[in-house]
């Protein structure tokens, strides 16, 4: 393994193509950590934004006017403001107002760190889009299907869980995929609050080594591959979940 890495050092000496994240162990570890942090952040946000979407769609069907208004207000606020400013607001403004806990270096830290705030902020941002998507999916289930389930003795919760949601899910999958891909791309914003994800680590490396060109090209390729894999996987899943006779 080290032989391969040493080859890149030779490459640098000979041609000037500087890829320190390959031949230098310290930078290499940083880059791998950054990659896995991006993946972790994406997965966490994916999960929570879908959860928020489902819960929000449920609440939007509520009979109480104010529940609907609050959910609607949340959606409008998060859809019409920049996610970067939301991130700053959560991390700096709200973060400083929360209680602090004793931490392991003897000082007081806020309860939630930068990764947590990035996850929260981005989940709420993506969730705002998901609520409408899930709501439309639920509305696309014909009343006759729901009535048939009622006639068969399903309870309301059972209808929602076993009849409506599965059908709605298959219908919303294309729009949801689009959202999820955007979410992965939006995780780069966490760079601004010092979450050590791929862009942040790349920035550290190019600040130290002044090899911006190589790092930029690497980043573009890395995200292209990451998002490409996600899109490809989602397309396969979409095809597997297709409803016959529809669309």
């Amino acid at each position: 393994m080290d032989v391969i890495f040493e080859w890149f050092r030779v490459l640098y000496d000979e041609t000037g193509i500087n890829l320190p994240f390959l031949y230098d162990a310290y930078d290499r570890n940083r880059m791998i950590d950054g990659f896995f942090t991006t993946i972790r952040l994406s997965l966490v946000c994916l999960f929570f934004s879908v959860l928020i979407g489902v819960v929000g769609a449920w609440l939007q069907g509520s009979t109480f006017k104010w529940t609907r208004r609050i959910v609607n207000g949340y959606i409008q606020l998060f859809r019409n403001t920049p996610p970067l400013v939301q991130l700053y607001f959560f991390y700096f403004a709200i973060g400083t107002m929360l209680p602090t806990v004793e931490n392991d270096w003897g000082g007081q830290s806020p309860i939630l760190g930068s990764f947590a705030w990035a996850a929260i902020s981005l989940s709420f941002f993506a969730g705002a889009f998901n609520v409408e998507i899930f709501r439309s999916g639920i509305e696309a289930v014909p009343k006759s299907t729901v009535e048939a389930a009622e006639a068969l003795g399903f309870s309301r919760l059972q209808i929602y869980r076993d009849v409506t949601l599965p059908l709605a899910f298959r219908v919303v999958l294309p729009a949801l995929n689009n959202n999820l891909v955007n979410l992965v791309k939006t995780t780069t914003l966490a760079y601004a609050i010092a979450v050590p994800e791929m862009l942040y680590e790349a920035n550290q490396i190019w600040s130290d080594n002044v090899n911006v060109t190589e790092m930029m090209i690497f980043l573009l390729l890395a995200y292209f591959v990451l998002v490409g894999i996600l899109v490809g996987g989602m397309n396969r899943w979409e095809r597997a979940m297709r409803i016959p006779g529809f669309g």
Partner: protein, 278 residues
């Protein structure tokens, strides 16, 4: 095997737009804004910091922040214009008859769609030349111009997709009728297809503009002096007091909301007006 059935398996799926903030009058927004911006100051007032000070400080800086915001809007207009022009060409390339053009356009569209906006912005800032030499004279590229170029790349890719989707959504009967009337391909596109597509493209295009406006704050990360940079500098000049953070960032949120929410409502209205019954 795919079946065609006349049973109501599912109704057509169309992602709906959120309803307007029901029943909210303009004065409601003002109250909400005041609470959002000064509520945190109330929290600090418990700790003995006088309530009015953050308000006064913010008011002091508001003219400068508004100037920065207008610069954001300028960046968004220019990036949208450039991205739309390039994207239309790319979109037409995607429906071209030549396989090579189609392939290259498809690849460029996918490449710039898959890349995160921030990475493309860094790419433009660091890798574009700082000046180009034309006819022996050098034309400098100021960094706001590079930011506009960087932001226009994802816009170009998305417009390309919008154009392709709109063209594909037209019934094929249009193409066949044009062919039977001996229109050349260029004439068909410019005189028949594209004029009909403009209406279909408008709502997603306006949606893209809204996303772009919100993305202009990314330029602050690469050093362009717009509203977020100015907010950071104002906070630094005020000594980094924590009770100023919420009012300042809250004000920026408010600015963007005040600009993007009407655009969103207008887009919904356009969509209803141009709804095409297939």
């Amino acid at each position: 095997m795919s079946y065609k059935t006349d049973l109501p398996v599912m109704k057509p799926f169309k992602p709906r737009e959120p309803e307007p903030l029901l029943g909210f009058r303009p004065w409601h927004f003002v109250v909400i804004a005041l609470i959002a911006v000064f509520g945190p100051s109330l929290a600090f007032a418990q700790a003995g910091v006088p309530l009015l000070t953050p308000f006064a400080v913010l008011l002091d800086w508001v003219p400068l922040l508004l100037q920065g915001f207008i610069f954001n809007l300028a960046i968004s207009f220019l990036a949208m214009a450039l991205g739309t022009a390039l994207g239309t060409l790319l979109g037409l390339g995607q429906i071209s008859l030549s396989r090579v053009t189609r392939g290259v356009s498809w690849f460029l569209t996918q490449f710039f769609r898959n890349a995160p906006w921030l990475v493309l912005l860094f790419f433009a800032m660091f890798l574009l030349p700082f000046e180009i030499n034309l006819l022996g004279l050098s034309i400098p590229f100021p960094d706001w111009f590079k930011a506009i170029l960087g932001l226009s790349l994802p816009v170009m890719a998305n417009v390309s997709e919008i154009v392709r989707g709109a063209v594909k959504s037209l019934p094929s009967g249009q193409w066949e009728a044009a062919e039977s009337l001996a229109y050349s391909r260029r004439q068909t596109l410019w005189l028949i297809i594209l004029p009909q597509c403009v209406k279909r493209m408008l709502p997603p295009w306006m949606n893209l503009y809204s996303i772009l406006t919100m993305a202009t704050v990314l330029a602050s990360i690469v050093g362009v002096s717009e509203v977020m940079t100015l907010t950071g500098q104002a906070l630094a000049a005020e000594g980094g007091r924590p009770e100023l953070l919420a009012p300042f960032y809250g004000f920026v949120l408010l600015l963007f909301f005040a600009y993007c929410y009407p655009i969103a409502r207008f887009t919904v209205r356009l969509e209803r007006k141009f709804a095409v019954i297939n």
